[in-house]
């Protein structure tokens, strides 16, 4: 039941808020709804809650053998938790930002949340696809309705790009559906597919991977991302980069690795190579950027690349790291966006070249950003370190590929480059003498401080004691690894 509420709450909340015309009211309503969702999410991810309340299934879609099946398992829990935590923070931090037609804005935001929740909990291929799109559509409207001046083209490109990916995914799901013994879309019967061979694996693998790669995005499918992040309103950018990016990673872990394990194994090196190229490529590009949003966008591409690399190393450690990192990356990057939002709102620019010397005027802002930035370069005792450490350790220890050492070394270069661009950003934005733009900067107000402090606390809490999160996801990671090893051994011994 809880799992149902998880997406019903934002759905209804969103639909309701379309009809609340008054700005303050609709903001508060959205905030309330997101808090309620958060409550559900917390209850759901408590180890004490009994599994039966985390499942929901009912037949739908008539003659297609599809069930409206939702279940909240380890990975789902952690991601739903992330989504639920992110929303109140986003709403609080953008409280001061004014939007025209606020009712539509917040309605669409909540609908997006509903879609995300659905994606993370759906246990049926068709339902998964439904929510996948349901999460995409409102974002399209948000970006092109409230974005920057080039928003229409950019968002349109983003939409068509991802839509193409997702329809290809649909074909792949159909293809697999016809291979299932019992002709059903349920994930259980998809997991029973692992025995299929050859083309039957390769084709759906690439179709699925294409869709997820566009969403993540993995080099060279990433070009929509910096533009979109740059153009869309920051609140939406937070959703895009903090949560939506995870849809791609999630998709690969849930719908590729266990379903078409053999192909995932035999194409793993190719994908990993793409990921590695992307990591270094994006890091180098990030150094070149002059726009805060673009810089963070590229750094996020690099981080996601590491996740992809870790996924395809298929070790328990790495997978755990990925799930951990999905959560942490969400937290950190949202924090970064909040700072960007504050800076842009106060100084009216995001250009590094036009900023500087804020530290003297706004120490609190500076400190919070520095913390977020340090988390972004995964400094120890910040949450990101745990995830990345485990991922890298897993990649290095992977026995599936001959090139694990090469991959690790090259990917590790990104931590140096990350240090370069992150510190450059801090230096250019906050240090040095103040210019006429920043000379009378004001420090942030309480609400923003609150939002950021919550994040900072989480950054350190999960950086020092990550075990609770790890326990949530442990079972799922274990199951995936055992499953794939079983399949691979079956496939390649004979």
């Amino acid at each position: 039941m809880i799992v149902l509420l998880l997406f019903l709450m934002p759905l209804l909340g969103g639909l309701a808020s379309f009809f609340i015309k008054e700005d303050r009211t609709v903001r508060s309503w959205a905030l309330l709804a997101s808090f309620i969702t958060l409550a559900f999410a917390i209850v759901g991810s408590m180890p004490s809650t009994n599994a039966s309340s985390l499942e929901f299934s009912t037949p739908w879609m008539g003659t297609l053998n599809s069930n409206f099946a939702l279940r909240l398992d380890g990975m789902g829990k952690i991601l739903c938790l992330l989504t639920a935590i992110a929303y109140p923070i986003i709403l609080i931090s953008t409280w001061k930002t004014t939007y025209r037609k606020p009712n539509n804005f917040f309605g669409l935001m909540l609908l997006t949340q509903a879609g995300l929740m659905g994606v993370f909990t759906s246990m049926d291929a068709l339902v998964f696809y439904f929510f996948w799109e349901l999460a995409l559509i409102p974002v399209y409207f948000l970006c092109s309705g409230w974005g920057g001046e080039k928003r229409i083209q950019v968002t349109f490109k983003f939409f068509i790009y991802t839509f193409t990916g997702s329809v290809l995914m649909l074909i792949a799901l159909l293809y697999l559906y016809f291979l299932t013994p019992d002709k059903s879309f349920s994930i259980e019967s998809f997991y029973r597919l692992a025995e299929i061979k050859g083309w039957n694996q390769t084709l759906p693998f690439w179709l699925l991977f294409g869709a997820f790669a566009v969403k993540m995005p993995i080099f060279p499918f990433h070009t929509w991302q910096p533009d979109t992040y740059e153009q869309s309103p920051t609140a939406v950018t937070m959703v895009l980069s903090g949560l939506m990016v995870k849809m791609g990673v999630y998709g690969i872990i849930r719908w590729v690795l266990p379903v078409v394990s053999t192909a995932a194994y035999s194409w793993g090196d190719v994908v990993s190579t793409m990921a590695v190229i992307g990591i270094i490529y994006a890091s180098i590009l990030a150094i070149q950027q002059n726009d805060l949003k673009r810089l963070i966008a590229y750094s996020s591409i690099a981080h996601v690349g590491i996740m992809a690399l870790a996924i395809f190393s298929e070790t328990h450690l790495a997978l755990q790291g990925v799930m951990m990192q999905m959560f942490n990356h969400g937290i950190n990057i949202i924090g970064l966006w909040i700072v960007v939002e504050l800076i842009e709102r106060q100084f009216g620019t995001r250009k590094l070249s036009e900023l500087g010397g804020i530290a003297a005027k706004a120490p609190a802002l500076t400190i919070l950003l520095v913390v977020m930035a340090l988390a972004n370069i995964s400094l120890p005792l910040t949450n990101a370190f745990v995830g990345e450490f485990m991922m890298f350790a897993g990649i290095f220890g992977s026995t599936l590929t001959k090139y694990n050492v090469v991959f690790t070394v090259l990917a590790l270069l990104s931590i140096i480059l990350a240090a370069v661009y992150t510190l450059t950003m801090i230096q250019k934005v906050f240090f040095g003498p103040a210019n006429e733009r920043t000379v009378n900067a004001k420090d942030i107000n309480l609400g923003e401080k609150l939002a950021l402090s919550i994040l900072v606390i989480m950054v350190f809490a999960f950086g020092v004691y990550p075990q609770p999160l790890l326990n949530i996801t442990d079972g799922y990671a274990q199951s995936i690894i055992t499953n794939s090893t079983k399949v691979l051994s079956q496939t390649f011994t004979k």
């Binding site: 003659t63 799109e133 309705g145 928003r151």
Partner: protein, 456 residues
Amino acid sequence: MNALIFSAISGVLMMFSGFALKSGKAIRTLAHLLLLATIVATAMELRGIPFFSIKTTGMLQFDHFALLFTLIAAVSTLVFFLLSSKDMEKVGVSYAEYFALIFFVLSGVVIASAFQSLLLLFLGIEIISIPLYILTGSDKRSLKSNEASLKYFLMGAFSTGLMLMGIALIYGATGTFSTALIQASKSGVPVLLSTGMLLLLFSLSFKVSAAPFHFWTPDVYDGAPTVFTSFMATVVKAAGFIAFMRLFSDAFRDIGSEWKLTVAIIVAATLFIGNITAVFQQSVKRMLAYSSIAQAGFMMLAVYSLTAEAKEGLLLYGAAYSLATIGIFAVLIKMKDYTFEGFNGFAKQQPLVAATLVIFLLSLAGIPLTAGFLSKFLMLKATVAAGNMWLAVFAVLMAAVSVYYYFRLLQAMYFKEGRAQAIEVTPAFKVTLIGVAALTIILGVYPNLLLYWLYF
């Protein structure tokens, strides 16, 4: 049978109502009532209550498939009446006759969906086409309308010729016109049969405007009075596909090797030409014409794979496509300026109407939670089941292209600033639009609402 007789009689009544009733309102009301009666009659027959028992000597068979489609067609027509029948008055003087012709078309639709003999197929198609020639040309003051109707007529007659040749050759091969017997005739595949079958295929492709026999469509849809374009592009096209489906599943299912390849090529070509050409259009009306070609490509997938699911899908597709297109046209009719720019800032002026339009567009583009998605999905499913992966992939890629032009309209309405042209909409109009939009969504989430009639 009920539907056939009712619609025919209603046609006659409307014909005479022209002399009896003077006010357009009265005529309109009568038409609505008659159509309602037809719908009820069809529904009752669907529930197993035929009013007449007429021995059709195996030429017509009103099975659930036929009746359900008849129902869909009739309901779509009703929606069309509710939304646009007022605007028919502007077309020309002979208001009542238009209704009469539409009713006759409807009866043709009934025949085309229930035929068991090539003769009836021929008659049905003709009964559909001839009134359409007239309706296309009904705006006599407009040169475009005249031109369109003549083009339509000449090419239509030409394709009729092809069809007849095909029928003749098939008869020569099998010695019968009954589809069932054609299927049964186990005299191998004489070249006469396959030639005739191909000719039939071509002429039917013409009727449903599948490439490369689609050329008439954009010109005719563009030239015809928009009201009737809306009707032609939806109900009639769907009927054409039902006829197509019935013919090939009843008569040529077993000799698939003879036509699968050709149909596959036709599907691909239709999808390609329809979508690609639509991208460039500046007039929404013409864009919709091309989009109807594109959608035809998708529906043709059902013909390619004659599975039971494809049949369901085709029915659903007919409903979804007709409803959405009729809705969009209903708004378009009221606009002065048919270009995309004409819709700039439309959302500000008519938020509600714009919202419904969005739903229709999403449905046409095949976005989930709309009937459009589900019907496309069933088509793809059938295609993959038929084992043609590449066709499916090509189809979805083209669907992605279609997003381009559907969303252009959406962007114009919502994100582009512009002088929104004022259109007058009655509350009833709005209510109907909302109803249709709701139906689109409901069918998208709970298709059984429609499909279970097929089985019970």
